[in-house]
Amino acid sequence: MNLVELRGITKDYRLGRTTVTALRGVDLVIQKGEFTVVMGPSGSGKSTLLNIIGCLDQPTAGSYLLDGVPVGERDFDKLAEVRNRKIGFIFQLFNLIPVLDVIENIEFPCLMRKGEREPASSLRRRVEELAGDVGLTPFLKHKPDELSGGQRQRVAIARALITRPELVLADEPTANLDSATSEQIIELMLKLNQEKGVTFVFSTHDPRVMHHARRVVHIADGKIAPQADGEARSPGAVTRAV
């Protein structure tokens, strides 16, 4: 099933008189359960693409169906709810909330949720389980500034997963990590993709990441390169540039 369906997405940034076009007609379909790597040099439009997929930003033109539902001109709070329920984010700079410890950071999106909330005890159980899955059990009471970069990114991964999202977007999550740690973080995400069926979209400018990828979407100058896409590393993943 198509989880993400982008058609003719363009994005312009206005900078005074000039207009920077970050995306020029992107078509992209992402299936549930896929692990997609968006690869491209700096400035190619990866962040712009992920922000649009993540409902953080809206395209200048084109259509976007998320889980079959058009993401149109919705108001901020509606989009906030979509982000809260359907999407998890992992950022290059980890973006944890500095005053919260590991447990509190992980549970945070669930506590900010609108409407009825999960009972605290069951949430706490899931948080601890998830913290275990990402290898943070010894650090539950640590604040972000007491953790290494890799540990912080593990917290961010757990925070992205606590809402049981349809889709996790990771925008260059390894760009601030050393290569050994990067490997571990990528392995962790692959494992979560395989074991829990979480859909990941992972952007990077580091070609070494390709070794791990089942599906790589190359982006350059705001366009997806058709020839590069479709080189599925595993026959199981159906990928196609549309």
Partner: protein
């Protein structure tokens, strides 16, 4: 909401130095507000009591038109100073004492010195119940005494002008109500430095009512009835109840009417106090505004992160308003406590002060009321939130992508 409160609390302690500076500003403002209010409360109470218990009494009864003609101290606008009339007044609920008086002008003579002065004829016993502070002001000798029918008390400036000491004899000269000049011999039995607060004329004498009635040829009459009321906040009730009792030929006035300048003074003092308070409060709130602006700027990426994980705009707004309110709450509570502490420290012994141009000390017992404390506390918390409104609103209107891109 609880999660937001937790984050707000921790954020307040996050930038300790900045929070402390802001807290000190709020603290200082509240301390000053409470301290000055307490001092003024004490001062105003002293003034009020000095006037009510030392000059006017709580309520006065005169013949109609007397107060308008007060400067001339008219003797023809008189009233009965007998038990039939005074007893009716005394029977009104909350009236605790009734004293007949006659204010009049005249001269005091001793040897070849004669000085114009103002006199008040007082019932020595009743007056001590209506205006006990008059008697307390007598520093040398003793106050009026029913056992001493020709003994009078005079201000020290008057006595020194005459070259008279306590114990000496003087003569009082004045026109009676028919315009005939009369005189009576008296003994100075006591002296007091000043007739009372805000008294324009310092040459004043108090003489026993029966002696004055003889001098003025108005036996059994007076021109003023001063009335003590307890508790004092029942004055309006007493005034209303007295009107039908004394009838339409008489006017019943509270001390507010008789000594209107006191309310005027209190009003002006409060005006100045409010100005000072508002300036201090304004500075403190500017501090909060600045703190919150800096906080929002530094935490832009954090705000973006919160928005990314689905925090709604009004939650962001609430978070920053909460943080500001916490500063207002903590700073306010500490400031109120400090202000209260200072007031409490001086409340017992009192602060001794002397008005400009005065020769007597007044003692101020500062105090504050619970409603004032509650109101000031609320102002501190709500004011802090209001001061943070703009930065908090900015924070809540940030665009997530731009906020996330912030490197601050």
């Amino acid at each position: 909401m609880f999660a937001l409160i937790r984050i707000a609390l921790r954020n307040v302690t996050r930038n300790r130095r900045r929070s402390l500076i802001t807290l000190s500003a709020v603290f200082l403002a509240l301390t000053v507000m409470v301290g000055v209010r307490g001092l003024l409360n004490g001062l105003q109470a002293t003034i009020r009591e000095g006037v009510v218990y030392g000059q006017t009494g709580a309520v006065q009864v005169h013949r109609k038109g007397f107060l308008k003609a007060m400067q001339g101290a008219p003797l023809d606008l008189d009233l009965p100073a007998d038990e039939a009339f005074l007893g009716k007044i005394r029977a009104v609920p909350h009236v605790t004492a009734v004293a007949a008086r006659i204010p009049f002008g005249g001269m005091v003579n001793h040897g070849d010195q004669t000085v114009f002065s103002l006199f008040t004829a007082l019932d020595p016993v009743a007056e001590s119940k209506v205006c006990p502070q008059r008697y307390e002001r007598v520093k040398v000798g003793r106050p009026l005494d029913p056992a001493d029918p020709t003994g009078g008390d005079f201000t020290t400036p008057l006595l020194s002008r005459l070259g008279v000491k306590v114990g000496d004899g003087v003569a009082i000269l004045t026109n009676d109500r028919d315009g005939v000049l009369n005189a009576v011999d008296m003994k100075v039995i006591g002296s007091f430095p000043e007739p009372g607060l805000f008294a324009a004329d310092k040459k004043v004498g108090f003489i026993p009512l029966p002696l004055a009635q003889e001098l003025l040829r108005m036996p059994g009459r007076a021109t003023e009835v001063a009335i003590a009321v307890d508790p004092l906040d029942r004055i309006d009730e007493v005034v209303a109840a007295l009107r039908p009792v004394v009838g339409p030929e008489y006017e019943v006035s509270s001390w507010h009417d008789v000594a209107g300048y006191v309310d005027e003074i209190v009003k002006n003092q409060n005006l100045v106090l409010n100005l000072i308070s508002n300036i201090f409060l304004f500075m403190a709130l500017l501090g909060i505004l600045n703190t919150m602006l800096m906080s929002v700027r530094e935490r832009t990426r954090e705000i973006g992160t919160m928005m990314a994980v689905g925090v709604r705009r009004r939650q962001i707004l609430a978070l920053f308003l909460l943080e500001a309110s916490l500063l207002g709450l903590v700073g306010g509570a500490l400031g109120l406590a400090a202000g209260y502490g200072i007031i409490h420290h001086y409340a017992g012994e009192g602060i001794v002060m002397r008005a400009v141009g005065s020769t007597t000390d007044i003692v101020i017992h500062p105090f504050i009321t619970a409603p004032f404390v509650a109101r000031t506390f609320v102002v501190s918390i709500v004011g802090a939130a209001v001061a943070a409104l703009l930065p908090s609103f900015f924070a809540s209107r940030l665009r997530p992508v731009e906020a996330l891109g912030s490197v601050a």
